[in-house]
């Protein structure tokens, strides 16, 4: 299957390229970057040295292919969607442009009207653990926000069983620097960013809209979200608090999560009573497509703390994109996504 990447000089584009170069079924046709057109891709992705002699093309040079990934800056793909639509029968957009189905939700969380509201309904929200069947038949799929993906996968079983009091959840997400992309800024300058524990968005984080949309299984949830930058390049850890609507003990919650995730190749339930890594932790997931989910029941009341971790560039972006591609093409979902992560790392 011939695959091209529109906007491949960024971190997500580079991670897609790394995965596709070693994917047994896919062959990389073109990868575009207006800024780096003509340059070797290794200029932006040094880890791929010796693996490819591919050079960046321009958007205008894109030839038809079987599947087109779009990893453009937020806001750009919506403008170019109509233009590139004909290039490939299947499109997988990694940007935030088509994640929210409702135009008014988009206005609320992105502060302006959507460029192309008509096309909003064309895209399937591309997390296979949520919408596997719809993705299989879709021609347009959108990736999800990395923080949203982590929170959603951690909380989904509880909202599916409707056991959350008032459908209300308080979520605190810790995230690494690569989630902000490869454009440097004053706050990403090493002496300022190193060792950070920085509350960059205590309220109003855009990914909240996706969490509300995807957890509305039995009715709209109330989602309180905050995000903190921590000393990591890759990785997200979500710590979510809910109050249980029913008196479920630890065993009942284990069985609820087992029932939901037993057959999922990329979700592991991690809650152990010994060892250093007892709960989900992003450090050992770097480069893998896993989302580890865990929890702890507060014995003094009805509170359940849900924990979830992933690599924001993998299950939070490119890895999930390749997983969705595998679903769309009918291949084993694990194809090309076998790297288990490193320890120690």
């Amino acid at each position: 299957m011939k695959v091209s990447i529109l906007g491949a000089s960024g971190y997500v584009g580079g991670e897609l390229l790394r995965l596709l170069l070693d994917h047994p079924e896919a062959s990389v046709a073109q990868v575009t970057s207006e800024r780096l057109a003509g340059k070797l891709v290794t200029a932006a992705h040094p880890n791929l040295r010796g693996r490819t002699t591919l050079r960046f093309s321009r958007l205008g040079d894109l030839a038809p292919c079987d599947l087109l990934f779009a990893a453009m800056p937020h806001g750009s793909f919506a403008k170019t969607f109509a233009e590139v639509r004909a290039i490939a029968p299947r499109i997988l957009d990694m940007s935030a442009d088509f994640r929210l189905r409702a135009p008014d939700a988009y206005r609320r969380w992105y502060g302006h009207d959507h460029e192309n509201p008509a096309a909003l309904g064309e895209f399937v929200y591309g997390i296979p653990e949520l919408h596997r069947e719809a993705i299989a038949g879709a021609t347009c799929v959108t990736g999800a926000g990395c923080l949203a993906t982590t929170a959603i996968l951690g909380l989904l079983p509880l909202f599916r069983e409707d056991v959350v009091a008032n459908r209300e959840v308080f979520i605190e997400a810790k995230v690494g620097s690569s989630a902000a992309g490869n454009k440097e800024s004053a706050s990403s300058h090493h002496p300022e960013r190193s060792g950070a524990a920085r509350s960059f968005q205590p309220t109003g984080h855009r990914h909240t809209g996706e969490i509300v949309q995807e957890l509305a299984v039995h009715g709209a949830p109330t989602v309180h979200f905050s995000a903190t930058a921590i000393e990591l390049v890759r990785g997200i850890l979500v710590t979510a608090h809910v109050r249980l609507a029913e008196d479920l003990d630890t065993k009942a919650i284990w069985n609820l999560y087992r029932a939901a995730y037993r057959d999922e190749p990329f979700i592991r339930i991690v809650k152990e009573t010994r060892g250093v890594f007892r709960y989900p932790e992003p450090k050992i997931l770097a480069g893998s497509n896993y989302c580890d989910v865990g929890f702890e029941r507060d014995p003094h009341g009805d509170r359940l703390v849900v924990l979830a971790a992933l690599d924001n560039l993998m299950k939070g972006a490119a890895g999930n994109g390749v997983q969705a591609m595998n679903v769309m093409a009918g291949w084993d979902e694990r194809t090309g996504l076998g790297f288990p992560g490193l320890h120690p790392v």
């Binding site: 284990w254 069985n255 250093v276």
Partner: protein
Amino acid sequence: MPKCLECDAEITLKADVEAGEIIDCPDCGTEFEVRSVDPPTLDHAPQEEEDWGE
């Protein structure tokens, strides 16, 4: 098949398991002592408290 006392996972016992043996749960790693083989019953194994907190 006995179930884990912590997480309710099914614990498969080796054919030659003996009373007093220490086994662990594959899902949550908790250690148990096999109190009896037939019927298979488990007790929490004595656990030295690991210093793990921050």
